[in-house]
Amino acid sequence: MATQGELLATTRLRTGWSAHLRARPVALGLAGLLALFVALVLGVGLGSVTVAPGDTLAILGHRLLGLDLPVTWTPAMETIVMELRLPRVLTAMVVGVGLAVAGATFQGLLRNPLADPYVLGTASGAALGASLAVLIPVRALVLEFGLLNGFAFVGALVAVWVVYSLARTSPLSPLTGLLLTGYAVGSLLAAGLAMAMYLSGAGLRQIFNYLLGGFDGASWMRLAVASSLILIGTVAIGVRARSLNGLLLGEEPAAHLGVDVRRERAILLGLASLVTAAGVAVAGLIGFVGLVVPHLVRLVVGPDARLVLPLSALGGAILLSSADLVARMLGEIPVGVVTAVIGAPFFLLLLRRARTGYEL
């Protein structure tokens, strides 16, 4: 079992710039914030309708800062910027934060580089919930969320709860038990999803859209609900970064460091699942972000959760909001396709640069 020092050593990167950045996580964070701001400006400024950059800024200044500017724009432009683009960009960012942080948490908790936010059945639970909602012919909106969002949220949490309760009493070691139970329950739920899709008739298109994920339905109200869950969960995970560091070393070393392993594991698992469930309820199943962003961050700054968690949050927000912008500009193609097309080559490049046996 590797000690923390060894873990840090094994991930050392030999390239000059990344070693430089590793020494200066603050600089990296500032660069990330700048990139996030650029993504925000582009995301609000671009879309299928052309709004002049000056008008975009004027609308934002007028509505957000209360500046008394001469109105040179149409009411339609104001609606597009304020009611469609801004909540959409912010939703993409918040979901990106949630998925990346949840991914980093699951990878650390399960000590498995292939873990992502969906590893314990959240995705299949959410997908089954969403497809059942499509089969039920009821139209109801609570806080602008439909039955589909509600069922997806509940489905994701129920799936994790089932996996956790089954694994807790498993004779296997806790991590193996969780992973294998998650896989088994996920397969069962996927069968239910396939059946629901088979029976869904014309609703199939809606299920399919949900499975692909996207930010088409973003609104201020939805953003408010989802972001409160995601940001509270993210902060709560963040303050447990030390526990996560301990758990990454293994159960015994963690216990020696004074970590209440069972309790901390359960809390972190619950928080990461809550964050994931809120994300998939509002945006559908968006893959790749939660798997790759934490790895990208670790490849650059090393495995310390106190750095990995905040920088993953930043990276997730940048990647997902840029991916959504590209998806929109290409005519509403699935955002998961874009995240993979942008992220995978970059990830491969970084993997090639990490010469000395990168591990979690």
Partner: protein, 341 residues
Amino acid sequence: MDALRHRSRLAALAATVVILAACTGSATEPPTASSTVGPGATGTPTPAPSPSPSLNATFPLTLTDDEGAAVTLAARPERIVSLTPAVTETLFALGAGQRVVATTDFDDYPPEAIPLPDVASYTAVDVEKIVGLEADLVIAGGNFFNDPDAIARLRSLGIPVLVVYAPDLQTVLADIELIGQAVGEPTAAEDRGSAMADDIAGIRAATEALAKPRVFYELDATSEIYGPADASFLEEMITLAGGDPITTGSPTAFAIPLERLVTADPEIILLGDAAYGVTADQVAARPGWGTMTAVRTGAIRPVDDVLITRPGPRLAAGLAALARAIHPDLVMPDPSPSPSP
């Protein structure tokens, strides 16, 4: 420990029950037929609060759409967005084509509609573009034809959205009148509706006394064989056109197993997929199809699928085409002069 294990089993069992319940629940309750259809689908045109079906359009106006939503129009819509090809055809047929500002990217009729801006595809609705066009009425397709989320989004932004969905011929006629009321062309809509009703009655009368051959209407057979589901719109059309429709055997199944089709033994096969290059020779050459009467007698005929299945103002012509494909010697009554756009 035992108690815990028991609880976990219960949880797993509960999950299974939920899945099973979902399956059986939806099998008995097909989402296509009755469930999502509002009061507008019962046959007669939905009455507007304007007391009589007055021939002068009066705004403001509140209509109930096919999914039961109340849609209020403050004034006669001048910038109309159509999100389905059938609605586009209806708008142009009613003389409201000048006021249509955007359609879908798969609209193909009438020709004037094709160059208009596209705001919807098969998979997505571009809400931003609709807002940018300053639309004052959007007419969308129900039963998931257009994304329900996008419809809710448009409504939350204050743009009236009228949702139409016709599970049967009666509702197609009702929808034309509903759209006519919404766009302030109730007279044209009533004329068109009654002309279509007359044509349909004429075709029905002409085919009523004839023998009813077993008809299979092929929608697609590239991987599975797709045909009319039970109680579907297409089943009704074939019946009205004087055929005995072969269906998939369930209202929610759209594919028919080859065994079932062979057993049903169609006397006529209509190729709704002819536009995609499927020919009678190809059908005859398919393994397992040779025993069917239609294949042995060569009664495999291409039809114009758009005309027959699009729930718009050309549907009476579609029914006539279908009747002629089933009964080639049929003497048809003259169709009503169509007030083409």
